[in-house]
């Protein structure tokens, strides 16, 4: 039984390989989106949940990742398997840059500055002229590996799945290590952390850079999945959605990110049909949620479901 636990994620991966056999194209598309948003939530959690900085910049990371990967593929013809990590690195660099104000500014100032930054990026997309293709966005070429073309939702799924597992594993390793512990330490008791030789500055910057990287990759996947990118996707609604995902799922946990990212990304589907009332219901849902399940679904489960263990910041040692 213990041996099985060790290969749990491998098993999951193998099982998930068969999903496209069971889905319609549209359902497959939804699943792709869900995986993307799990990564988005995970990346956001690094900054919001683990090091506890009030950054509204996550949606900008998403957009920068989507735009950089999309533009690299469209304008420079760089194949996706190179554009994607490159886009991730570019976004990671932006994340690193935003880490600096995070060190200096108080909670609300940071929130306001990152909010401003995100809107500024959207403005740049809209008014970027030939460089960013303006308000109507642009199409992204079909991702290819040699002669393999990933043109359908089901094909693209495999790209998404592989990238998802790779990133998730890497980030989980990082979180469940001294690095993850230093994130939480610096958040909880900065002085005590410094007294243990933790460099707060480096820690926060690392969290921001990693966050940028992860969410940037997610954005790149979005480009590949949607095959079309428009500036509208990266505005206020997106900012709020990311927040909801993190808080709904559970701040500061990997499981929470998985729950929040997948459930909330599918919410528009569930709210479909009541187009007019969508905005209103969304808002209502948020408020109800904040009032009654403030620690997120994960917190709720921990509290009320017996036997569920809190997620640890270390890996099980054989």
């Amino acid at each position: 039984m213990k041996r099985l636990k060790k290969y749990k994620s491998l098993l999951c991966f193998v099982l998930l390989l068969f999903i496209p056999l069971l889905t319609t194209n549209y359902t497959q598309y939804l699943i792709n989106i869900a995986f993307i948003y799990i990564l988005v939530t995970l990346g956001f959690n690094l900054v919001l949940g683990y090091v506890g900085r009030f950054s509204f910049a996550n949606a900008s990371f998403f957009g920068i990742g989507a735009y950089s990967v999309g533009l690299l593929m469209r304008k420079l013809g760089i194949p996706f398997w190179f554009s994607l990590p490159l886009g991730g690195l570019i976004t990671g660099a932006v994340g690193l840059l935003l880490g600096f104000p995070a060190l200096r500014l108080h909670r609300y100032y940071l929130a306001v500055v990152t909010l401003a930054f995100t809107f500024l990026m959207k403005f740049i997309y809209i008014h970027g002229g030939g460089f960013t293709y303006g308000p109507s966005g642009f199409d992204i070429p079909v991702p290819t590996i040699g002669v393999l073309r990933f043109s359908s939702d089901k094909n693209v799924y495999y790209i998404v799945l592989v990238v998802f597992f790779l990133v998730l594993t890497l980030i989980a390793n990082i979180i469940k290590s001294n690095i993850g512990r230093s994130f939480r330490s610096v958040n909880e008791a900065e002085n005590a952390a410094e007294a243990l030789s933790m460099n707060t500055r480096k820690t926060v910057l690392l969290a921001f850079a990693l966050s940028g990287f992860v969410v940037g990759i997610a954005g790149g996947l979005l480009s590949i999945v949607l095959r079309r990118i428009t500036p509208d996707s990266f505005g206020m609604l997106e900012i709020v959605t990311h927040f909801i995902m993190v808080v709904f799922g559970g701040l500061g946990s990997i499981t929470g990110s998985i729950i929040g990212g997948s459930v909330i990304s599918l919410l528009p589907e569930l709210l479909r049909g009541s187009q007019e009332y969508q905005e209103l219901l969304y808002g209502l849902l948020i408020v109800i949620f904040v009032l009654f399940a403030p620690k997120g679904i994960y917190g709720f489960i921990l509290k009320y479901v017996p036997g569920v263990q809190r997620e640890k910041l270390y890996q099980d040692v054989e």
Partner: protein, 274 residues
Amino acid sequence: MKSYTRMSNEDNRHPFLLVKGLTVEFGGLSALMNVDLEVSEGGIRGIIGPNGAGKTTLFNALTGFVKAAAGEVKYQGEDILGLRPYEIAKKGVIRTFQGGGIFSEMNVLENLMTGYHRLLESSLLEVAFRFRKNKSEAKKIWGKALRLLEALKLKDLAESLAGDLSFGQQRLVELGRALMSDPKLLLLDEPAAGLSSSERDDLIQLLKGIAGGNGIYILLTDHSMDFVMGICDYITVLNYGQVIGEGKPEDIQKNREVIEAYLGHEGESDASGR
């Protein structure tokens, strides 16, 4: 108890810790004035004084949390005044906090593990990809943490949230966390505060065990004379930010100035600085 590195101050040219003329000012008030301190022998060194005498300020200045207006601090011959706290800690100077600086949202085991930070060797990529080096280091950290918990008799609480523990247990966790880093100089700020008398006795035994022949210099503060007398080999007395006496416990007890300082503060409202 796991045996630590031998006395780090094999080189007898430098005192292990040398503080000269340390002065700290807060907005015109002198919290510390011209403090001299020398630690060159092992054992447990006590810093005592009434409330507001500057004990915590001294620790803060030694560990980089507070800026000094004047003076010098040489640790193993090296100037450490002006360095950032994490840089000083990296050199093996580990301190605990008065209010208890444990990470309450983490469990006890995780708290201990954070203490290993100073000794870490794995890089980011090694961690992310879980190369063998990182895996074995993780194992090492795990093992050391559990051994320490066992020695501190906290093993059963390993997975309990640190915030749920009693104050005395939290102080023990903080101590264990500090020990995880193989400290060379341990600065304990009021380690006995808030402990029951049996917990205090346990702490005394524990600290004696750590200091005795293990190569760790311990500096501790407390404003309870009894505790300090029972554990320290040498004592420095502060009052109003200045050193007013130094010596073995028996000598200090007889020192008139010291007695007056304590008597003078009884029933008086706490004066901070001048």
